[in-house]
Symmetry: C2
Subunit: 237 residues, 2 copies
């Protein structure tokens, strides 16, 4: 908050659009990403308890800690913009909690797929939105998503398990489709409820936005990347 | 492991005693601390789920992540010494898991006390042992314990709750004694089973050790610090 009073506040930099609706959208987005990370941390930490070996436990706990380590910078940026981190996260709790409630993994492999595919989907979506942000916010959002390195172990574990039991591949392919469907359901819910966030995508007087065709192409890209991730796991999408 | 082949391996530095028993003791200690951190992470992450508010959840999850963030450096040092991190941790799983099984918090305040008092006790114990280590290992162990900053929030929450309900103080004081008793029980179990670690405290040909009187003074110091922590929380010990 001390920084808001100084000349370094984002509202005073040329890159940050002087538009209250834009600021609301950024607060929404940062709040959604931050709560998403907290929620991913909780779920991964719970999955770690189910890990079949200590090595797997440490690998999943490492992913959990990596998610959580991004929260502080997102909260700091929200505060810097004059928002309250907990107020900014609140509108997204229902959608994100429902996503997790509707996709509770029934075994260790469903947990792994969810960690890999679910987080990948969320990251792709936020990365698409980040393209419409001022550079400072965009860099922060992209940095908070960039932890692909941890997931090599998921690919290895899932491929090994499917090789040992090919029927598992069919079940996990269905699971991947369910994760995608539930993510879209909750994303639509958020878009319907959060006007500022939707308006960000639609553009403003001095900012380019998305027409319906562009939104269609965005979802095509997200779907394609989902299919690539499923293929990486050796699964049909 | 590449580092073990280079001249920088600790076994080749003048500070690291050329004594297989000493190395076994260090591997034991690093394994115990690393498993303790993983285990603390798991417990704190579970406690975070019980947190009454989102602010409390984030505070506890921050403590969980801080514990886990120490694991990688401990594992790296074990590997550098020619050990296997998972083999080094294995002998301490039973004692640490039993400690947690016997001290499962029944509510949020018991969780907070356990996070503060339990981790404090473990840290004091490891810090005492660290005094008998070569400088490189000692610095690593002490660095892996040093996260007092996160616990101010525990003190604040517990004192506020006791002010609102003085009877809570009596129950939580008993809980603190139980944590201390269970920690001593499991520490004795480890000391009885791990000869190298006990021998480290007893000293070697060219290393000073502890006689019974010195061990007594060590436990006095640990007990005194426990009492100070309880007092900080506003609790009798």
């Amino acid at each position: 908050m001390a920084e808001s009073a100084s000349g370094a506040a984002p509202g005073n930099t040329p890159e940050f659009p002087d538009d209250p609706l834009y600021k609301d959208a950024v607060l929404d987005l940062l709040g959604a990403v931050a709560y998403g990370e907290i929620s991913a941390f909780e779920r991964l930490a719970e999955d770690a308890r189910m890990a079949p070996t200590m090595e797997d436990k440490v690998a999943i706990a490492t992913m959990a800690s990596a998610e959580f380590s991004k929260v502080a910078a997102l909260h700091a940026r929200i505060t810097e913009l004059g928002g309250d981190p907990f107020a900014a996260m609140a509108p997204f709790r229902d959608a994100i909690d429902l996503f997790h409630a509707h996709t509770a993994p029934s075994d260790w492999y469903e947990s792994l797929i969810k960690a890999f595919v679910g987080d990948g989907l969320a990251d792709d979506f936020y990365r698409e939105i980040a393209a419409y942000l001022d550079p400072g916010t965009r860099d922060l959002v992209v940095a908070s998503l960039d932890d692909e390195g941890h997931s090599a172990f998921v690919v290895d574990r899932v491929r090994t398990a499917i090789a040992a039991d090919p029927r598992l591949g069919g079940r996990l392919a269905l699971w991947g489709r369910r994760l995608m469907g539930e993510a879209l359901t909750q994303a639509q819910r958020v878009a319907a409820e959060r006007d500022a966030l939707s308006a960000l995508l639609a553009g403003g007087v001095d900012r380019p936005g998305l027409d319906l065709a562009a939104i269609g192409r965005m979802f095509t890209r997200i779907t394609e990347r989902h299919a690539e991730r499923m293929a990486e796991l050796g699964l049909a999408s």
